[in-house]
């Protein structure tokens, strides 16, 4: 909360909406946390290879923005913690899992029994790793976005005039609220479910599977375009569902908090204090809801990936 105050003080003239958006969005393109020479060199090289100019919207900027930093941070944390937990659990075979491992195992067994075996079928092992990785990746990203440690670090950075730490407070910490990140994961889902079909039925038969057999031939002129569009709408829906859910919750959260400061701005400090309990109560409630949404959205992403792969593999003839 202190951080929000700090930020609204520095962006005094901004409207609550701008504050909220600034709080969720990634830092600007040029705003890197670390300046790595090699990465800027790589960015220009790759971009020019594809013929994209530096001022274009599609310029591939590989610099470490805040979201890239959070992405690296969360992936490292996730890989280390999950491998640590699982290795520890498996190495003493008769031991009872510890608390964290119980949670991981609960998700793993639930996804295996209710999603993988249900939608993909007997040979689920081939796709299990993808579904699990998607679930835990999204879950870690969603939940870490709810813990304001970057804001806290940024506060220390501002108080101590540390440029690196205060850079960390800029922009949102929830990478799954960024459509670029969710679109990347959805791309992997897209490649996975097309790859699954091609792998099982061969390239031509897979595309034939798109249209259900046994229809009257004029209907194919309707069904085939719809199915084909559906193919591309699926990853887009995945992208926007996850990003929208995470973004919306965080914007609402920030806006509830900014009530305090806009009241203080308009009616004086005491008005701000007066509304603070309501704002904070709302924010706490919303955070609880967000916690739920974080798990549900991770589950939905994993579930839908499994469903799409299952649809490509188990075709009704």
């Amino acid at each position: 909360m202190f951080v929000d105050k700090k930020i609204t003080e520095t962006h005094h003239a901004q409207s609550p909406a701008d504050t909220a958006i600034g709080h969720v969005a990634n830092t600007d393109h040029g705003h890197h946390i670390f300046d790595v020479e090699f990465l800027s060199y790589l960015s220009t090289k790759i971009s020019s290879f594809f013929g994209i100019s530096e001022n274009s919207m599609f310029f591939i900027n590989l610099g470490i923005t805040k979201h890239v930093f959070v992405l690296l941070f969360i992936s490292t944390l996730m890989v280390l913690s999950i491998i640590g937990l699982i290795r520890n659990y498996i190495s003493h075979k008769n031991n009872i899992p510890n608390k964290l491992m119980s949670v991981v195992e609960m998700f793993v067994v639930y996804l295996k029994d209710d999603v993988l075996e249900n939608f993909i079928g007997k040979n689920y092992r081939e796709w299990a790793s993808l579904i699990y990785t998607i679930f835990f990746f999204v879950l870690f990203a969603n939940i870490s976005g709810l813990i304001p440690f970057f804001d806290l670090l940024g506060l220390f950075g501002k108080l101590g005039n540390n440029e690196l730490l205060s850079n960390l407070s800029h922009g949102g910490a929830t990478i799954t609220a960024n459509a670029n990140v969710t679109f990347a994961i959805a791309t992997i889902t897209f490649v996975a479910f097309i790859g699954a079909g091609i792998k099982k039925y061969g390239f031509i038969q897979h595309w034939k599977n798109l249209a259900p057999s046994g229809l009257a031939w004029p209907l194919y002129f309707v069904v085939v375009p719809i199915e084909f569009m559906g193919l591309f709408i699926r990853p887009l829906a995945l992208t926007l569902r996850l990003a929208g859910n995470m973004m919306g919750g965080h914007i609402a959260l920030v806006i509830f908090i900014t009530f305090i400061f806009s009241m203080a701005d308009s009616f004086g400090a005491w008005a701000g204090f007066g509304i603070a309990p309501f704002s904070i109560a709302l924010a706490v409630g919303l955070t609880m809801l967000e916690l739920l949404v974080a798990v549900i959205q991770a589950y939905v992403f994993a579930l839908l990936t499994a469903v799409f792969i299952g649809m490509a593999i188990n075709v009704d003839h």
Binding site: I21, A25, D28, M57, N61, S75, V79, Y89
Partner: protein, 168 residues
């Protein structure tokens, strides 16, 4: 443009690369070992359950069998007891019968012996009586009766004695 919907291909590429790396690392070191472990555990549980089930039915069978054996033993015991009772009774009856037969034999034997002794005694007594009566008669007559007289006398006296004997 709205900063929430900025196209950021750099971030997109980063996410792809990081996600694929995470996927391969976790697949190798976490998910596959864990799934192997879970599947093995599930197999173990299923095995133990079926084993428990078969053990239960085995126990049931054994229980039935032991009950059967017990019943059989009871039946056999009863038969044996009845048999031995019968045998004992038979033996007892046998012994009794034998004893009876023997005692009867003894009695018959004794009776016949007694009869023989009696006959002998009577015969002796008769001879004695004859001698005595001859003595007596010769003394009385003071002479020797001839054989004819003798025989007559003896006969008459014997007849008299016989009558006496039958009366007594």
């Amino acid at each position: 443009m709205n900063p929430l919907l900025t196209v950021d291909l750099g971030l997109y590429v980063w996410t792809l690369v990081i996600f694929m790396t995470v996927l391969f690392v976790l697949k190798k070191y976490a998910w596959n070992p864990l799934l192997d472990f879970i599947e093995e555990r599930e197999k173990d549980i299923a095995n133990s359950l079926s084993m428990a089930e078969s053990a239960k039915s085995d126990l049931e069978k054994i229980k039935d069998e032991s009950q059967k054996i017990l019943d059989q033993a009871k039946k056999e015991g009863k038969v044996i007891v009845n048999d031995s009772k019968q045998k004992a009774e038979d033996a007892a009856n046998n012994i009794l019968e034998k004893a009876k037969v023997k005692s009867d034999e003894f009695i018959v034997d004794a009776k016949s012996k007694i009869e023989i002794e009696k006959q002998r005694a009577i015969k002796e007594i008769k001879e004695e009586v004859v001698d005595l009566s001859i003595d007596l008669a010769s003394k009385i007559l003071q002479r020797n009766v001839n054989d004819d007289d003798n025989d007559k006398f003896i006969k008459s006296s014997l007849e008299a004695m016989n009558i006496d004997e039958a009366k007594s």
